[in-house]
């Protein structure tokens, strides 16, 4: 429950430690890890006792002491045990349990959960304050991007020469899968997590999210499952790439189970986050904030998490069936027993195509939000932008089989799916017009966030055009499964979404950390990343045209030059990212103290003090106009009217 008024703050700090609060106040990341380990081992021994035979055989055959790892049932049970214990230990179930016991949380308990009067410790607890959750998401996103990026460097190093033995095929395939799934998870949460949690409630004039405890739950579910995901390479790896296609996945070692558990838990997390953020945006907007006065970023975030609500359950279902095939011998995906790999491919891509827009839309919306600030102009055709986002969302659930043109499944559907896919270029093109229209005759203040808009537009043109190529069956016939595809989706997911996120981070950095982002150093990091990025993936287009398949650990000599260029570009990205990371850390620790509204922006988050107080607003604002009132003779400070 959101805390409604300040009057409830009467409970003093010691009162947090009484009865019910006592247990709560002792739960943090350490108890979560202890709880996770206890339940994990308990689950492991119970499962090993229950499925005793394979364990004994395994021990006999496997002197390494990891004999228990050969049984998928035991591995799956152990991993779910870890997640359950971790969530118990972090205190995720305190609220429901106390409600069942008839001792629902008091106001003091709620304030404690919100992190009132706690120091850094609140970032390591089941804290419900949306600003804490936003920072937690930011840290975990950056961690995942760092791991995924480092893995990408290993992949590119292996691909620097045609017959490299740097990684070897098993590790190479595992790293391809790890890079894929880590980056997919990181990019899905990278805007809606940090900014959707920290910024969005303030932007709409709310004191917290609609369901603060669900908010904390969505974050800690992801945190609980990151160790499971990172354990995959140590459990034999995964041979499949992040698509985890069956029947190949059924051949995989127990590392594959780590992938399955990760996706199932992540799907729960994204469902929880989606319910929370959509409810917040619909119900918690302050008085006077009609839909036409709601900032475009809110639309982008709602579109993203709203699209995830139908998308991820199919991914979860796909992995549940995959786990059953592996663990208990069902045959959903095995052809000889009546199953079909096409079933998996359909379930996967039913998620897979909406998912790229889950990643793309909020990052583009963040840039749409900041473009008016840096051009000192209203957003060009707000309604066209909303219609474009809605159009992309609507079409994106109807295009999944364009990933299956050459799979042999339902060839007669090629034409219809080609039509729906190519139609997406119409609302996407409209977004370009919104950007250009907003820049048109503007006073373009070329700070780093605005530079991200330029870099994104450049990359989005290339990513979009190559997407139209691929959507057309004749071209897909040649390009499917080649490096061309890899280059295309990196242009969209990295060139557009990650570039947009970097711009959004610089834009909102001062509000989130209280300090200004050092653009003098960050400038170099950002542009080195952009140059390296274009070198990497233009090189990859070249080898893709020439016919190099994706996800290969070795390749023919004819692709040597293009791959060498790509690898050099990738190293450049890495250097740029390190500079950018250094800028983030150094600015956060010792940057210039930020004023409340350094960009002179008009949305609500810039009207509250920096750092933002616990419940954001002393008095909830009343909105009388849209937040883009630049250059209008009648425009007034819209927070003027308040209760």
């Amino acid at each position: 429950m959101a805390i409604q008024t300040q009057e409830h703050t009467s409970g003093s700090a010691p009162s947090n430690a009484r009865a019910g609060g006592a247990l709560m106040s002792r739960m943090n990341l350490v108890t979560a890890i202890i709880g996770g380990l206890i339940v994990m081992f308990a689950a492991h021994y119970l499962a090993a006792a229950f499925f005793v035979m394979p364990v004994l055989e395994g021990d006999a055959e496997n002197p390494s002491g990891l004999g228990w790892l050969i049984d998928n049932r035991i591995t799956l049970t152990t991993m779910f045990g870890w997640v359950l214990g971790f969530m118990l230990g972090i205190g995720a179930f305190n609220g429901p349990v106390r409600w069942v016991l008839g001792k629902d949380l008091t106001d003091a308990d709620s304030l404690f959960l919100a992190g009132k009067d706690q120091g850094v410790g609140r970032y390591f607890r089941f804290t419900t304050d949306h600003k804490v959750v936003g920072i937690q998401y930011l840290i975990i996103t950056m961690t995942l991007l760092g791991v995924g990026g480092t893995v990408a460097m290993m992949i590119r190093t292996n691909l620097m020469t045609p017959h490299s033995a740097f990684l070897g095929p098993t590790t190479y395939n595992t790293f391809v899968g790890m890079h894929g799934i880590i980056m997919i998870i990181a990019t899905i949460i990278m805007v809606t997590g940090p900014f959707g949690n920290f910024i969005l409630p303030i932007m709409i004039g709310a004191r917290d999210m609609a369901f603060p405890r669900l908010n904390a739950l969505s974050f800690w579910l992801i945190a609980s499952v990151v160790p499971v995901l990172l354990s995959v390479p140590f459990l034999g790896g995964m041979p499949t790439g992040w698509t985890a296609y069956n029947p190949l996945a059924s051949q995989g070692p127990v590392g594959m189970d780590g992938f399955i558990v990760t996706i199932i838990v992540f799907a729960v997390s994204s469902a929880v986050a989606g319910a929370n953020i959509t409810t917040t945006a619909v119900k918690m907007r302050t008085r006077g904030m009609t839909w036409t006065r709601t900032p475009i970023f809110v639309y982008g975030v709602v579109a993203s998490v709203g699209l995830a609500i139908p998308a991820f359950p199919t991914f979860m279902a796909a992995q549940v069936l995959s786990g059953l095939d592996r663990g208990v011998g069902t045959s959903f995906y095995t052809a000889e027993d009546g199953g079909s790999g096409w079933l998996y491919a359909n379930l996967f891509w039913l998620m897979g195509h909406p998912e790229v827009y889950v990643i793309l839309i909020p990052a583009v919306a963040a840039l749409l939000e900041l473009t008016p600030v840096f051009t000192r102009k209203p957003l060009f055709s707000f309604k066209a932008a909303v219609i474009a986002i809605a159009g992309i969302v609507g079409l994106s659930v109807l295009v999944w089989a364009h990933h299956m043109y050459i799979s042999g499944w339902a060839p007669k559907l090629g034409g219809p799916f080609m039509l729906t896919t190519e139609m997406i270029s119409i609302p996407t093109g409209l977004l370009f017009l919104v950007f250009i229209g907003t820049m048109w005759r503007g006073r373009i203040w070329t700070r780093l966030p605005m530079m991200a808009v330029y870099a994104m537009l450049w990359n989005f043109v290339i990513g979009g055009v190559t997407g139209v190529y691929l959507s057309d069956i004749p071209v897909d016939e040649a390009m499917h499964g080649s490096m061309f595809v890899t280059a295309h989706f990196h242009y969209t997911l990295m060139g557009v979404a990650l570039t947009g996120t970097m711009g959004a981070l610089v834009f909102w950095f001062s509000k989130m950390t209280g300090r200004m982002f050092n653009e003098r150093i960050g400038f170099w990091g950002f542009w080195i990343v952009q140059i390296g990025f274009n070198v990497t993936f233009l090189g990859m287009f070249m080898v893709g045209f020439a016919g190099q398949p994706r996800r290969v650990f070795n390749y023919s000599e004819m692709f040597a030059n293009g791959n060498f260029v790509s690898t050099m570009g990738a190293y450049t990205i890495f250097i740029g990212m390190l500079i950018f990371l250094y800028t983030i850390i150094s600015s956060w620790r010792g940057g210039e103290i930020a004023s409340a509204n350094p960009w002179n922006a008009k949305t609500l988050e810039w009207q509250v003090p920096t750092p933002v107080p616990l419940e954001n607003f002393d008095v909830l604002p009343i909105i009388t106009s849209d937040p883009y009132g630049y250059g209008r003779p009648t425009s007034e400070p819209k927070e003027g009217a308040s209760r």
Binding site: T170, G241, L248, A335, Y405, L430, G442, V552
Partner: protein, 279 residues
């Protein structure tokens, strides 16, 4: 210095001038025109990077690639031209927010209508182009035996097997090979399947690609029109040695093909062709 330019472009284009007479429109048009000419002049590059073509359908694919690049060039360059001009002319340099706002217009219906109609028309062109080419290119399963300028089609069973390709010629006494032999100017019909996981059968220079699914047979076909040796690769991640799952497609004359088949059928590995690449 940027300020004077800014004020000229911001305040002068107002009264009296039609939209195409405004300086920013003319400048962006000129930049766009130059970039488009460059783009159109380079539209052949993707198809050139795709290398040799050994079949009619690869010709069609390369033609599609060039056509799409030609369609895409003006669209891409329009965005880039606007970006270049806005950076050159509308830029504000300073450490503090600009003191005054830019013109506060919020929409422009004609430009939105024009933009949507233009992108809709382009989308339809690309879509119809694709449909026409599908009719010319037999995609997976959509078998259309149209090419008839040569001998009868030859049937080949293609089997993916971690991590090799196997080619069986049922009309020739089920002879088997791990190198694909094709007689030139004859339609080859492929029945593609797999014995383990999903592979994807890809003859790079012929534009042939179809998944090899366990338990399913996908049909596709190609008419090879050029003698030579081409690349067969796997285009779907199929496990450990996916990257090494390559072989060759040798397009030979009918006489050479017959000689090879006779040798294979008799299981006598002699003769020039068999010694070169047969089993």
């Amino acid at each position: 210095m940027a300020d004077t330019a800014l004020h000229e472009t911001q305040e002068s284009p107002a009264a009296g001038k039609r939209w195409w007479q405004r300086p920013e429109v003319r400048a962006i048009f000129i930049i766009w025109l130059i970039l488009t000419i460059i783009g159109e002049a380079l539209a052949w590059v993707p198809a050139w990077l795709m290398g040799t073509s050994a079949s009619e359908q690869m010709d069609e694919i390369k033609q599609t690639m060039t056509a799409f690049t030609a369609f895409a060039a003006p669209v891409a360059t329009l965005v880039w031209a606007a970006m270049i001009y806005s950076l050159a002319k509308w830029r504000y340099k300073g450490d503090t927010p600009p003191p005054d706002d830019a013109p506060g217009f919020t929409t422009n219906t004609p430009s939105i209508m024009l933009w949507v109609i233009a992108s809709g028309v382009l989308t339809m062109i690309v879509f119809i182009w694709g449909l026409l080419k599908i009719a010319a290119i037999p995609a997976a399963g959509a078998l259309a035996l149209t090419s008839t300028n040569a001998g009868p089609p030859i049937e080949i069973q293609v089997t993916g097997n971690q991590w090799v390709w196997n080619f069986t010629y049922p009309e020739l006494g089920n002879i088997q090979s791990d190198v694909l032999y094709l007689p030139v100017d004859r339609t080859a019909v492929f029945n593609v399947t797999s014995v383990d996981v999903i592979h994807s059968f890809w003859i790079v220079e012929m534009g042939v690609k179809v998944d090899a699914n366990p338990g399913e047979i996908a049909k596709t076909q190609v008419l090879s029109h050029s003698l030579g040796t081409y690349d067969v690769r796997c285009a779907e991640l199929c496990g450990l040695f996916h990257g090494a799952m390559e072989t060759q497609a040798k397009v030979v004359t009918q006489a050479e093909f017959d000689a090879w088949a006779a040798d294979e059928g008799a299981f006598v590995p002699v003769g020039p062709v068999a010694a070169e690449g047969g089993e």
